[in-house]
Symmetry: C2
Subunit: 212 residues, 2 copies
DNA sequence: GTCTATAGAGGGATAGAC
DNA sequence: GTCTATCCCTCTATAGAC
């Protein structure tokens, strides 16, 4: 154990730092997480952290990047199984639940860190967008299969956006009730109704919204 | 102007501090907002800020409290006008849009600051919950009127929860696209479908959700 | 109530031995 | 790659004159 290839030592340390940084930053937010907190929690001195990542912002970018890559390899196939719409919708919602539960970092990071605004570096903002785009692309593709929307990409887009907003809103709700789950049932009803609505209404016959 | 009643001077300063603190904290988050930033932005020295609020946490609590009170007095009547369901739903969604656009502090604060977790004081957490409860109570009451759900409080509750989660999700989405609006249309369709679903299904006939 | 000045702690980041 | 030690800065909070 102790004579592990010296080559791996650095890699292991790097991962350990990323683990603790992911945990702390998703719980406290970027600004409230200090290098010394990370150092104390993972056992490595601050200088090692700087050697690996160069700056606090560098850690943040690396954390986001790794989270996205993990998410990408973990996302179930877009080829949602199921014979009819109901079955495919079930499959999709089940996959969504799994993603939501197994990868809370993503949503938490988007929440807890996204308010950097001006303070965030360009790379950090880019990584944040990449993470969101990954989720959107998956949801769009999967929902297109579920409702067979190959010829109506704008409907898939709307359904995906709606789904992600519901998921984000649930992540927010979790702060108040940590046990809050994704509430699959209303989402199922809403998605079916929305898909039906958009199929029946040939795009354009949108009832007035009422913006004086 | 300069000879304003000396009595008001303190009150005015207090309000000025709260204004800038609300702005800065909702943009950068609690941790990333420093006393010196507030001091520089509002022109008063740090010691005045401490004289008024005692601590940084005290500012946060006061900011939340004032935001909630402002919201409460601004919330439209729960007595949603309209002859039929469609009209009342329109009224409700319009009111929701106004609240969402005119009081972005609330959602932003819930987002930007809610990740305090352990670091937050008990009072801060209490205020945060009070803010959320205010919104929930309003949405619950209004939706009960819209769909005439006086005898089914659990349905009003579900609809309100769904509505607030959508709104929260939209607030999150705004970070990526600052112009993102509330997407009234899908919400309308979803709420109608949900209400109809719950009216037709006598509570209990919930299709399996699929948790192995 | 508002100011100047400052204490005391902790932040991010680096130097240089090993 | 990892360590100890440290620089410099900003932070929260307070003291005390006005």
């Amino acid at each position: 154990m102790t004579e592990a290839p010296a080559h791996d030592r650095g890699t292991r340390s790097r991962e350990a730092i990323l683990d603790t940084a992911t945990d702390l930053m998703s719980r406290h937010g970027y600004a409230a997480t200090s290098i010394s907190m990370i150092s104390a929690a993972c056992g490595l001195p601050a200088s090692s952290i700087y050697w690996h990542f160069g700056s606090k912002d560098g850690i943040y970018v690396a954390v986001l990047q790794r989270a996205r890559i993990t998410l990408e390899t973990a996302l179930p196939s877009i080829d949602v199984p199921g014979a009819d719409v109901a079955q495919r919708l079930d499959s999709f919602l089940e996959a969504l639940t799994v993603v939501f539960q197994r990868h809370p970092h993503g949503t938490k990071l988007l929440l807890g860190l996204s308010m950097l605004q001006q303070s965030a570096s360009a790379e950090a903002v880019a990584e944040l967008h990449r993470y969101r785009d990954t989720l959107m692309a998956w949801a769009r593709g999967a929902l297109s299969r579920v409702f067979d929307l190959g010829d109506r990409p704008e409907v898939s887009e709307e359904l995906a956006r709606f789904t992600l907003r519901t998921a984000s809103g649930t992540a927010v709700a979790r702060w108040f009730e940590p046990a809050a789950s994704l509430d699959i049932e209303p989402l199922r009803v809403a998605l079916r109704a929305l898909a039906a609505h958009r199929s029946g209404v040939p795009a354009g016959k949108t009832p007035r919204v009422g913006h004086p």
